[in-house]
């Protein structure tokens, strides 16, 4: 089973993508599934390990939390640009955040979350020490950012992924 479908999630996602880009019909379902199977087998040649997902519910929860955060930080950053950074009082700066995550897949997801949220930019991650260097547009409290990333996102990612 795992020889034919080395990455079942990717196969499913590619099939859905095929159906989205064409139209929902039985013929496209079969064709899309065949293309997705071949594509995920091709990926297994360079990436043999399956992404180990432990639970789906934390990811759903994370999706809604991040969705809300993105809307809020969009408005905050737009307001800061309009008011010229609270009339010159805005301070930006770097924050070093020690991460507990080590596996590539949850780290990639965290990178997407941090990048998609305006106001925080992922600058550098040191794989040896596990320290993430973050640039924050509107710095209020350094410790707040460490607990924000650590509790809000990282805990849920640790629950969702193995490792």
């Amino acid at each position: 089973m795992s020889r034919i479908f080395p990455h079942p999630l990717l196969t499913l996602a590619l099939t859905l993508l095929w159906l989205l880009l064409t139209s929902f019909s039985l013929g496209h379902l079969i064709l899309g599934f065949a293309v997705a199977t071949v594509a995920s087998r091709a990926l297994s040649a360079i990436e043999p390990d399956r992404v180990p997902i432990r639970a789906v519910w934390p990811l759903v929860k994370l999706f809604f939390i991040v969705g809300g955060d993105i809307i809020r930080s969009n408005l905050a950053v737009a307001w800061l640009i309009l008011t010229r950074g609270r009339h010159g009082k805005r301070r930006s700066g770097f924050v070093e955040i020690p991460l507990r995550l080590r596996a590539p897949a949850p780290l990639a997801l965290l990178a997407i979350i941090i990048t998609a949220t305006p106001g925080t930019a992922w600058i550098e991650y040191d794989a040896e020490t596990g320290v993430l260097l973050l640039h924050v547009f509107d710095m209020i409290e350094t410790d707040d950012w460490v607990t924000l990333i650590g509790t809000r996102y990282e805990n849920l990612l640790m629950e969702a992924f193995v490792g």
Partner: protein, 152 residues
């Protein structure tokens, strides 16, 4: 301009709202990119365009095109969801560019010694010490020697 004229208000208002929201945020992002002074600050401005800026425009397009494709009545509903794919790819690929730019700027600032830039604790001095490889070469045989008696 045929189908746009026949658009009922309950479709036209959300389409206009999301389109204006998305394009305003994208415009503000571009404005910030031009106006902000610091390189790292500038990294933040375009993410307005790639997050809700894009999402707003894509939502407007989804509502409008779904209306355009659909026949009257619930059975004729044809939701157009292609735009989701654009949004997903935009979200996945933005971090790649952003990290590339951020790390390049960090590397430059560390070498130039710009104040206020956190240096990597161990890594920062690696380029300045070309003898590091020789030291590693000497260290490797020592480990081999110490391991050998342990195996016996």
């Amino acid at each position: 301009m045929s189908y746009l004229d026949t658009l009922p208000p309950w479709i036209a208002i959300p389409v206009a709202f999301f389109l204006i929201l998305g394009s305003t945020l994208t415009l503000l992002g571009a404005f910030g990119l031009a106006r902000l002074r610091d390189f790292y600050d500038r990294l933040h401005a375009p993410t307005l365009g790639t997050s809700w800026g894009a999402a707003g425009i894509l939502l407007a397009s989804m509502i409008l095109m779904s209306w355009n494709e659909s026949e009257p009545g619930w059975s004729g509903l044809r939701p157009v969801l292609h735009e989701l794919v654009i949004g997903i790819f935009l979200m996945i690929t933005t971090p790649v560019t952003l990290m590339l730019l951020g790390r390049a700027a960090l590397h430059r600032d560390r070498i130039e010694g710009t104040p206020g830039i956190p240096g990597a604790v161990e890594r920062a001095d690696v380029p300045h010490r070309p003898t590091g490889e020789e030291a590693d070469g000497e260290a490797a045989p020592e480990i081999d020697i110490s391991d050998a008696p342990g195996e016996n």
